[in-house]
C-alpha cells in the first residue's frame, strides 16, 4: 500500500527534484499511516492528526515560497486520494457497500487535509507579499546626504498616511544621525497632490522644524501649484 501511494504521488509532480518529492511524500504517508486507525478516521479534529497537519502545512508553505501554483499544490494532496481509492478498489472487490463507506471516509479525510493545505498555502503567499510590501516602502523612501548638513529626500509615487509616517520617521532619524540642518523634500515624483497629501507634507515640514532643521519643498509642478 505504501509503495503504491509513493509511486502514484511521485509520478504527478515534476517541478521539484524527484528525490526531494519522494522524501516529502514518504514523510507524509508514513505519518498518516502511523496516526490513522479505525477510530479516528471519521473524527477529523482528532489530536492524532495534528502532526499530519503540521507536515502538510510545512509542505504547503514551502511550495508557496517556491512558486508552485495553487493547482499544483492541490493536485499533490488530491493525488493521495486517488492512490488510496485505487488501493481500496483493489482490496475490497466483492463488497460494494464496504467499498463505498471506506471511500467516503477517505474522501472526508483528504478533503480536510486539502483545506489545511490551502489555508497554509495562502498564508505562505501572504507572507511573501507582506515582505515585498515592506521592502518596497523601505526602498521607495531613500534619504540622501547631498552635502555636509543637507539631506535630500525624493518622494516617488503617491503619499498616503502610512507612507508619510515612514518618510517622516526616516527623515527625522537621518536628521538626528547626520546632524543636518536642512532637508530638501523633492515632490516632482508625486503624481497628484490633493489636500490630504498636502496635509501630510505640511506635517512632515512641521516635524522637521520641531527637530530644529529647516525643510525646503522642491519640484512642485505648475499644475500642482
Amino acid at each position: 500500500m505504501d509503495e503504491n501511494q509513493l509511486s502514484s504521488a511521485g509520478l504527478r509532480e515534476d517541478l521539484m527534484s524527484n528525490d526531494e518529492l519522494r522524501e516529502q511524500s514518504e514523510e507524509l504517508v508514513d505519518m498518516i499511516l502511523t496516526k490513522i486507525n479505525d477510530d479516528n478516521v471519521t473524527n477529523l479534529d482528532s489530536e492524532d492528526f495534528e502532526q499530519v497537519y503540521e507536515i502538510i502545512g510545512g509542505i504547503s508553505i514551502s511550495r508557496a515560497k517556491q512558486g508552485f501554483s495553487p493547482r499544483e499544490t492541490g493536485a499533490y494532496i488530491f493525488s493521495l486520494k486517488n492512490a488510496l481509492l485505487e488501493v481500496l478498489q483493489q482490496e475490497i472487490i466483492n463488497d460494494p457497500v464496504n467499498l463505498y463507506e471506506s471511500a467516503m471516509k477517505i474522501n472526508k479525510l483528504i478533503d480536510s487535509f486539502s483545506v489545511v493545505t490551502f489555508e497554509t498555502f495562502i498564508k505562505g503567499r501572504e507572507e511573501v507579499i507582506l515582505r515585498q510590501t515592506d521592502e518596497i516602502s523601505e526602498i521607495s523612501t531613500p534619504v540622501i546626504r547631498v552635502w555636509d548638513g543637507i539631506l535630500a529626500l525624493p518622494i516617488i509615487g503617491t503619499l498616503d498616511s502610512a507612507r508619510t509616517q515612514v518618510v517622516m520617521e526616516n527623515l527625522l532619524q537621518e536628521i538626528v544621525n547626520s546632524g543636518s540642518s536642512i532637508a530638501i523634500l523633492d515632490i516632482s515624483g508625486v503624481p497628484a497632490v490633493d489636500s490630504l497629501v498636502a496635509q501630510h507634507l505640511i506635517k512632515t515640514v512641521s516635524a522637521t522644524r520641531l527637530m530644529g532643521a529647516e525643510c525646503v519643498i522642491s519640484g512642485i509642478r505648475p499644475e500642482i501649484a
Binding site: E169, L172, Q173, I175, G179, S181, A207, L210, M211, G212
Partner: protein, 118 residues
C-alpha cells in the same frame, strides 16, 4: 520632590530635562523659569529635551506656554534636541509649537541665540 535645575550661563538660562516630565513637574518648571527670567534678566532660555521620550498634549502645551511667557518677559526660548518620536507625536496632536525656536542640539541652539544677540 524632583526639581529641574535651571542653570545661569551669562545671558543664557540653561534647562536640561533629564527625567520624563510629569504634569506637576512641568507646571513647577514653568513657574520657576519665569521667576528666574525676571530675577536674572536673562535674554535667552535654552531648554534641552533630548532625554524626554514621552510627551502628551499637556506637555506640548506647557513647552509652548514657557516660550510665550519668556517672550513676554523679553527672553527668547530655544528648544533643542527633540527626539524624532516626540516631534511626530506633537505634530499628530496638532501642536506645531509655532512660537518656539528649535535647534537640533545644544551647540546649534547656542549658535542660534548668539546670532540673535547681535
Amino acid at each position: 520632590m524632583d526639581k529641574i535645575p535651571i542653570l545661569k550661563m551669562g545671558r543664557f538660562l540653561l534647562v536640561t530635562i533629564q527625567v520624563d516630565l510629569y504634569d506637576k513637574l512641568a507646571l513647577n518648571l514653568e513657574s520657576d523659569l519665569v521667576q528666574m527670567v525676571s530675577k536674572t534678566g536673562a535674554a535667552d532660555v535654552l531648554i534641552d529635551i533630548s532625554a524626554v521620550t514621552i510627551v502628551d498634549s499637556f506637555m506640548g502645551r506647557i513647552i509652548g506656554n514657557i516660550a510665550n511667557m519668556s517672550k513676554i518677559m523679553d527672553a527668547i526660548t530655544v528648544v533643542v534636541g527633540m527626539q524624532p518620536a516626540v516631534a511626530i507625536t506633537l505634530i499628530e496632536l496638532g501642536l506645531p509649537l509655532s512660537g518656539v525656536h528649535t535647534a537640533l542640539n545644544v551647540e546649534k541652539g547656542m549658535e542660534l541665540l548668539k546670532k540673535n544677540l547681535f
